[in-house]
């Protein structure tokens, strides 16, 4: 069986639905220089199969982005081999950056300084976010 031993210092991102681990990895950790492990499709009592990421020497993570990708995620913070904090994520009500406005003429696509803030305006199978610049609605599939 594929198993990964614990980490001494870092975070464990757990309870991702199978497939979401790679999305999180590509979005948040593709450029890290710290040791990191992605486990995909491992057995889980609750989810059937799940993904897990363990990253060493990293304690900051964008919880809004995690909540956008998979609101079931839990984040365990490990220090000196001990669990010191456990965070739940949730669907972000407001998210700055992280997604692209679906309006191709929105200024945020051409102006590097215009980081759009998206406000959650609907949850109905898909999340609906309104752009702070152009007010276009961008949908995001859960």
């Amino acid at each position: 069986m594929l198993e990964v031993n614990g980490i001494e210092n870092g975070i464990v991102i757990d309870h991702m639905h199978a497939g979401n681990g790679l999305k999180v990895f590509n979005k948040l950790f593709a450029d890290t220089e710290n040791p990191v492990v992605l486990l995909m499709n491992v057995k889980s009592g609750v989810l059937g199969q799940k993904d897990i990421i363990k990253i060493e020497n990293t304690f900051e993570v964008n919880l809004d982005l995690l909540g956008l990708i998979d609101p079931n995620i839990t984040v365990n913070v490990i220090q000196n081999g001990k669990l010191v904090d456990k965070k739940k994520v949730e669907i972000p009500k407001v998210i700055k950056g992280g997604i692209a406005c679906s309006n191709p003429r929105c200024i945020t696509h051409t102006d590097d300084y215009a980081i759009p803030e998206f406000k959650l305006v609907g949850v109905n199978g898909r999340l609906k976010y309104e752009c702070s610049y152009c007010e276009e609605i961008t949908t995001y599939k859960l």
Copy 2:
């Protein structure tokens, strides 16, 4: 320390330069339903840092694509917990598919049945492959 225990049946893709593991993972294993682990930036005596992929219940892997991404790769085949085969990869002299022709007007971009075969015509910092359809040279950075 991050460590992953051995697998019973499957393959271990080892000795990837740090960063290449994610490329291999996205190209070859993004859609797998088998348990799989990507380790990135783990300590290595020879390479300093390296990436490793272990995938269960999978024995076939495109060695040409691996050789294209990182010719240092070794592939270990594990059956019933024992190493039964060890494969080295190399820069492919001919590769079918896997890369896209750099000529935007090449028929391979619009005809689903035209899978280009690329012939290695030069190795000089970058690999140079000639498309079997349009003879355009596509370069690929090692």
